[in-house]
């Protein structure tokens, strides 16, 4: 299979994953589209490393999170998002207002956390084990447990952290 086709297959299969990363790291629609495109672009740039990766399943999580962190850490120079005709970044369209409110609250709670904690919660919600989270994020397994307990505490208290 051609490199381009393999890349497209990877993106298409993980479109939902990329979308979810963009929702926890951005607030505005335009910012979200910009981050989505940046993750796709960075995946394309480092696609050769994907083929050599020991664990392809965790590779995209790392690229996505790293791109989001880099994006938010960058200087003020923002690259304008390219208009996206082929992808609609919208999930709350089923008319269930109670669910919509819950989803809004879910994102609001996650966005209150710091950049790293946001990533840890995201991986936890994705059903990753402590070992997998540790490997992707680059911290020890015990640290994952500690941070998750602190995050639970923060969420319980509703303390705003940045």
């Amino acid at each position: 299979m051609k490199r381009e086709d393999e890349f497209i297959q990877l993106i298409q299969e993980n479109q939902g994953l990329i979308y979810k990363i963009t929702t926890i790291y951005t607030r505005e629609r335009e910012e979200q589209e910009d981050l989505y495109q940046e993750i796709v672009y960075q995946t394309w740039k480092s696609f050769d490393q994907f083929k050599k990766a020991a664990k392809p399943s965790t590779w995209l999580y790392r690229v996505g999170m790293n791109t989001a962190i880099t994006h938010l850490n960058r200087s003020k120079k923002r690259v304008a998002a390219v208009p996206m005709e082929g992808l609609e970044l919208e999930l709350m369209d089923d008319g269930d207002s109670q669910k919509e409110e819950q989803v809004r609250q879910l994102y609001a709670e996650i966005r209150k956390l710091g950049l790293l904690d946001r990533g840890i919660v995201f991986l936890f919600l994705e059903g990753k084990s402590h070992e997998e989270i540790a490997e992707i994020v680059g911290i020890s397994t015990s640290n994952v447990g500690t941070r998750l307990s602190r995050i639970k505490e923060k969420l319980r208290k509703g303390v705003q952290t940045h």
């Binding site: 479109q15 082929g86 999930l91 994020v137």
Partner: protein, 199 residues
């Protein structure tokens, strides 16, 4: 009302199902978007820096060819100082930009990246302070040789001119310097907060 992490997990599962069932992005659209993004990245990030560097180099080149026309030794020294600054500063800036953009996002972990960002910010803050001081010196030393070159050496030999020019320059550098320092200190504190508690 605060949502518990376990409740979040259930809701997240439902959202994941929807996210995965979205219509697949089309091949042509995806590649068009990626190519455009590449062009935009180059244009927005590198172009202004490259343009700035070119202007500095042209100016430096102008000075190099004019130095022998300066008769006053002090103006020759000022001209050499200004030329060196106009070559070195844009090069450092471009190198830093390149370093920042060649981050290996697939091999580094997010923690390694955050630590690297913190180091970069620390370096950038120190670099900005040096740049501000050098800019002040640049602003003061560029006028005498330029004035001599355009035949207005008497303008800069007038003490009244310097009595206005120097205080304004110092005030400007002070305000700008304080603002920069505050901005970077805030960014560093934030970076520290994010990586705090990592073993």
């Amino acid at each position: 009302m605060i949502m518990e992490l376990e409740e979040m997990k259930t809701l997240w599962g439902e959202l994941s199902g929807k996210a995965e069932n979205q219509e697949k992005i089309k091949k042509e659209e995806l590649m068009k978007m990626t190519r455009k993004k590449y062009q935009n990245s180059l244009g927005t990030i590198y172009l202004p820096e490259i343009l700035g560097a070119v202007i500095c180099f042209v100016y430096a080149g102008f000075f190099i060819f004019q130095i022998d026309k300066l008769e006053l030794q002090v103006n020759q020294i000022f001209a050499v100082f200004n030329t060196v600054l106009m070559i070195i500063l844009p090069i450092i800036s471009l190198v830093m930009l390149y370093r920042f953009n060649r981050l290996n996002i697939s091999e580094n972990s997010p923690v390694q990246l955050l630590e690297k960002f913190k180091k970069d910010k620390q370096f950038y803050r120190d670099f900005q302070i040096v740049t501000i001081v050098l800019s002040g010196l640049f602003a003061m030393t560029i006028l005498p040789p330029l004035a001599e070159l355009i035949g207005k050496a008497d303008m800069v030999s007038n003490p009244q001119f310097w009595m206005v020019y120097v205080p304004i320059g110092v005030i400007f550098i002070f305000i700008f310097g304080r603002w920069t320092l505050k901005k970077y200190t805030r960014a560093l504190d934030k970076a520290q907060e994010v990586i705090e508690g990592i073993e």
